[in-house]
């Protein structure tokens, strides 16, 4: 019952979108997935096509209160960042073990970086979502200096909302690729259908099945499947040969 953590360097990177689609990809791969959001201002329901007024039930709420979308159990626990017993509670609930029978994807807002640091050592994968943008790049040295070597080593990266038509975005993306190397899981292209799906109160897969961002996010989620077999030892991306790339621009 592994835990996968998604987090970011700064707000607006698309961490919640990425977490939602990782959960969907793992669910499609056969995992029993719970999504846990710890954000006090939560947009997770929107990525599942739910109403904006939806409030997700607590992680500890009974099963009859569950909100299930496509078999994914959506939960909230806004007190988790301040709760020192959160990790033991996860263990008591049966997470932090191996296999696909029960998987938790925890979406952590960028402001809760201290909480992320506590959870990452217990996660099967830590996914840092970043934008190929200069303000994000500027934060990298500070974040790297603050994080432990173990947590840095345990983290894989995703570039979200990449606009390959823009020169600075391409340069920034190339810089990130060289910086994080093999631990770059992939990139998700900027795609207007993502906010459009939210505005339509539909899941992206329903609103725009051919969405480029959907395909990219699904590929990243699928690439994380091996992480489900590494409980207590974070799985990290190790890159691949150029020939095996599947996400090059057409």
């Amino acid at each position: 019952m592994p835990v996968i953590v998604t987090h970011g360097l700064k707000g607006g990177a698309g961490t919640t979108f990425t977490a939602a689609h990782i959960a969907m990809a793992l669910s499609e791969a056969g995992a029993d997935v719970t999504v846990l959001t710890v954000a006090k201002r939560d947009t997770m329901p929107l990525h599942f096509g739910l109403q904006p007024a939806m409030t997700l039930p607590s992680l500890f709420a009974p099963a009859e209160d569950a909100v299930l979308v496509a078999g994914i159990d959506l939960r909230s626990l806004t007190t988790a960042p301040e709760d020192n017993d959160f990790v033991p509670a996860l263990r008591d609930l049966g997470f932090l073990e191996t296999g696909q029978d029960k998987v938790m994807v925890i979406d952590i807002p960028s402001a809760e970086f201290a909480f992320a640091r506590r959870v990452i050592p217990h996660a099967s994968a830590s996914v840092c979502v970043i934008n190929a943008a200069p303000d994000t790049l500027a934060l990298m040295p500070q974040v790297l200096a603050e994080a432990s070597p173990e947590n840095i080593a345990a983290t894989s990266f995703v570039i979200n909302a990449l606009d390959e038509t823009r020169r600075l975005s391409r340069h920034s993306s190339a810089f990130i690729r060289e910086l994080v190397g093999a631990r770059l899981l992939g990139r998700i292209r900027l795609d207007e259908s993502v906010p459009e799906a939210i505005a339509m109160l539909q899941q992206l897969s329903k609103y725009a099945p051919s969405s480029a961002a959907l395909a990219d996010a699904k590929a990243i989620g699928t690439a994380l499947v091996p992480a489900l077999e590494t409980p207590g030892r974070p799985w990290v991306a190790r890159g691949s040969s150029p020939a095996s790339s599947s996400s090059r621009a057409a």
């Binding site: 200096a145 390959e164 910086l179």
Partner: protein, 118 residues
């Protein structure tokens, strides 16, 4: 997706669409000062330490990772670009930032892009 875009993709027999990556000649473009500043920040060394930690970890199950990667750590990247003392003394490559050949790195990125490796 707009219906006209959908129709175009249908005619092209594609599900999605992205621009080809332009073959930027970094060396011919003005440098972005922020990239140069970041390359000179010693705190980026933490990535190198993490790479060593990852390398020491047991190999996980094979998987296809979405992105391409040249297979080099940042340290090897810099040692290869370096000119003079920076190339000879890896431990000093960012401390001796004046020797840092940022333009060479960007030229290398351009080459990787033109070869379809990034």
């Amino acid at each position: 997706m707009r219906i006209d875009a959908r129709n175009l993709l249908d005619r092209l027999g594609k599900n999605d669409f992205a621009y080809k990556e332009f073959e930027d000649r970094f060396s011919e473009l003005e440098l972005w000062p922020i990239l140069e500043a970041l390359l000179r920040d010693p705190r980026l060394q933490a990535i190198d330490q993490a790479e060593a930690t990852v390398a020491a970890m047991p190999e996980p199950a094979p998987t296809e990772v979405v992105e391409t990667y040249s297979g080099e750590s940042l340290s090897s990247l810099f040692s290869r670009y370096g000119r003079g003392p920076a190339a000879d003394a890896p431990g000093d490559r960012r401390g001796g930032s004046q020797q840092q050949d940022v333009r060479a790195m960007l030229r290398h990125l351009s080459d990787l892009g033109s070869q379809g490796k990034i």
